[in-house]
Amino acid sequence: MSDKPHDFIDQYQAWVRQGLEAWSRQFDPKAGPEGATVPPPDIAARLFAGLGGYGEWMRSMAGGEGPGAALDGGLPPFGHVPGGSAEFDAWARAAKDMLSLPAFGLTREQQEEQQALLKAWIEYMEHYQRYRTLLQGVHERANAALREQAPPTDAESMRSVYDRWVNLAEESYAEAALSEEFREVYASLVNAQMRVKLLQQRQVERMAVQAGMPTRKEVDSLGERLQAARRELAHMRGLAAEVESLKAEVAALRGTKKPAAKRATKPKDRRP
C-alpha cells in the first residue's frame, strides 16, 4: 500500500487528464491527416463521440460498476446486446431450419425445450436488431437536423452545440418513439425477451426438481394460496365486525347495553 494519502486521487486525476487530452487531440485542427484542417462538422461528431463515452462512464460509475465496464457498452436490464450482421442473419436462418428438425428418444422433451429456447433467443436477437435500427435512424436524423441548422453569427461553445444536438436528438427520438412502428418493435422485443426468460426458467425448474430443491413455481403457488387465504380472512373479519356492531345495536335498542362507539377498530385488529 502506498504511503501517499492521496495516491488514489493522483491516479484518478492522471486518468482524467489523459482521457481528456486524448479527446481534445481528436478535434485539434492540426491533428488531422498530414496536418490538414479538420472540417468543423467532424469536430462536432468527434465531440459527441467523446461525450457519449463520458456519459456511459458516468452512468456505469453511478451504477456501481468499475470504470472499464462501460467499454462493453453497458447492459440494459432487458438483456445483453447482440451484434447485428449479415453473417448473423445467415446463421440464424440456418439455425432455425436445424432447430425445426424433430426430436427423438428418451430425452425428446428436453431436446424440444432446448430447441424452443434457441429459437426464442434467435427471435429476440432479430427483434433487438430491428430496435437498434430504429434508434440508429433517430441518431442519423438528429445529426442531419443539426447540420441543417442556420450557421451562427458568433463562434459557439462546444457545450452549446452539444445541448442543441441533445434537443434535436430528443425531438427525433420522441417522434420515433410515438410511432406505430416503434410501438410494435418495442413490444415485440419485450415479448421476445420474456419468451426466452420463461423457457430458461423452465430448464432451471427441471434441474431444481432433479436436485430435490423447491422451485419458483411451487413457491409462487404457495404464495398465491396464502394471499387468497389472507384476503378471505380479512373479508370474514369484516363480516364478524359488522355482526358485532349489529348485535350491539340490537342490544342498545333492547335497552340492555350501550351501542358500540362508531369508530374504526384498532389498527392491529384490522390486519388480514
Binding site: 486525476q13 487530452e21 468543423p40 445541448d163 441533445v166 427520438y173 415479448n191
Partner: protein
C-alpha cells in the same frame, strides 16, 4: 444540406475542455466529502405498519390548524420521499407550515411474499385500513385524501368506492386518460403481452421500471445530466442535492406482480378508468360517485403524465366543486422546484381551507 453550420473556434474548444478537465479532476475531492445521503427531512412517527407498509404521521413545528387531517397516497413506483426530499425542498414541510396535519402511506419494498397482491389488496385493503387508522386517531368520519401519480389513480378508485370516508380529494399529476397521443409510456405498453411479462418476471424489478423511465428521454437522462454534473462538482451542497435526487430515482421498489398486471392491463392498455369500466375486485369504479370537492393539479411540462392525461378528470367525476390547477413545471419539479415550494402547498392549503 448545410455542410458547416458550426462555428467552433478550436482554441476556445481546447480551453473549454481544459476547464472541464479541471472541474472533473477536482470533483473527486468534493465527492469524497459527501457523506451518506438521506431522504425524508421532516420528523415523523410510524403510527401503523402492516407487511411492508408504514403509515407515517409528520411532526411540524407548530400545532396543526386544520381539523381534518390530510392523508397522502403515493404511487407504488419509486419511494415517497420525493415529497420530503430535503429541508428546503419538501412539500410535506410546507404543508405542515401552512397548518395541515399530514399523514403518508409508504408502501415499502415488496418482495416475493407480495407477488400476489392485487389492486384490491392495495386499495380496498391497505389504503382503506390506513384511512381507518387516521379516522380513528382523529375521531372523524372522513379525511382529506391527496393522491400522487399512480397514487392519484388509487385515490380516485378509493374515493369512488368509499365516498363516505373522503371529505375532499386532491389529485396531483394523476393520469385518467391513458390513451392521449403524447403518452409515451402507455404507447409502448399497448402491445406488450402483460400476462407473459408478469408470468415470467413475477414481481417487476425496479431496474426494469427505471430503464423504461430513462428511455423516455434517453440522452437527457443518461448523458446530459451527468455532463451538467461537472458544472457543479466544485460545489458540495449542489453535489449533495444532485446525489440525493439520484438516490431517490434509483432506490426504487419492485412492483408486486399481480397489481402490476392489473394496472398495466386495465389502465394503460384498456384505459378502463376513462371508460368507466375499471374494477377493483368485483366492484366497478364509477367516478361519478365522487361528489366531494376535487382539486386536480397537473404539471404543464410533465413527460410522464401529460397534462392531457389528467385534464379530463373534471368531466368524469360527479362533483360540482371541481378545480383544476396547472403548474408550470414537470412531473418532479412540481415537488422539488423552488417555485413549487412557494406555490403548490399554499394552493392546496387555501383550497382545503375554503372547504
Amino acid at each position: 444540406m448545410n455542410e458547416n453550420p458550426f462555428l467552433i473556434d478550436p482554441e476556445r474548444a481546447r480551453a473549454e475542455v481544459e476547464a472541464f478537465r479541471r472541474k472533473l479532476e477536482a470533483g473527486l475531492e468534493t465527492l469524497k466529502k459527501v457523506g451518506p445521503i438521506e431522504l425524508g427531512a421532516t420528523p415523523r412517527e410510524a403510527v401503523y405498519t402492516e407487511d411492508k407498509l408504514t403509515l407515517w404521521h409528520f411532526k411540524g413545528g407548530k400545532k396543526p390548524a386544520s381539523k381534518t387531517p390530510l392523508l397522502i397516497c403515493y404511487a407504488l413506483v419509486n419511494t415517497p420521499w420525493m415529497i420530503d426530499l430535503q429541508e428546503d425542498r419538501s412539500m410535506v414541510r410546507n404543508l405542515l407550515a401552512q397548518g395541515e396535519d399530514v399523514y403518508l402511506v409508504d408502501w415499502g419494498y415488496p418482495d416475493g411474499a407480495d407477488r400476489w397482491l392485487t389492486l384490491e389488496d392495495y386499495i380496498d385493503g391497505y389504503l382503506d385500513r390506513c384511512v381507518d387508522v387516521v379516522r380513528e386517531r382523529h375521531g372523524i368520519e372522513s379525511l382529506n385524501l391527496l393522491g400522487i401519480c399512480q397514487g392519484g389513480v388509487f385515490s380516485l378508485c378509493y374515493a369512488a368506492l368509499h365516498p363516505e370516508k373522503v371529505r375532499n380529494l386532491v389529485t396531483m399529476v394523476t393520469p385518467v386518460d391513458f390513451h392521449t397521443p403524447d403518452n409515451m409510456l402507455s404507447h409502448w405498453a399497448r402491445n406488450v403481452d402483460i400476462d407473459l411479462f408478469v408470468d415470467t418476471m413475477g414481481n417487476v424489478p425496479a431496474d426494469v421500471m427505471n430503464f423504461a423511465y430513462l428511455t423516455l428521454k434517453p440522452l437527457r437522462l443518461n448523458q446530459q445530466k451527468y455532463i451538467g454534473l461537472v458544472d457543479i462538482l466544485d460545489n458540495p451542497k449542489e453535489v449533495e442535492n444532485f446525489l440525493r435526487m439520484e438516490k431517490w430515482i434509483f432506490d426504487s421498489p419492485d412492483q408486486a406482480g399481480e397489481a402490476f398486471r392489473e394496472f398495466a392491463r386495465d389502465f394503460f392498455q384498456k384505459n378502463l378508468l376513462m371508460k368507466g369500466e375499471a374494477r377493483i375486485g368485483n366492484r366497478v369504479v364509477d367516478l361519478r360517485k365522487i361528489t366531494q370537492p376535487v382539486l386536480n393539479i397537473y404539471a404543464e411540462q410533465d413527460h410522464l403524465v401529460p397534462p392531457a392525461a389528467s385534464a379530463p378528470l373534471g368531466g368524469l367525476v360527479g362533483s360540482k366543486d371541481y378545480t383544476a390547477l396547472a403548474f408550470k413545471g414537470g412531473h418532479i419539479g412540481i415537488y422539488v422546484s423552488g417555485r413549487a415550494q412557494k406555490q403548490v402547498p399554499p394552493a392546496i392549503h387555501a383550497w382545503l381551507a375554503d372547504r
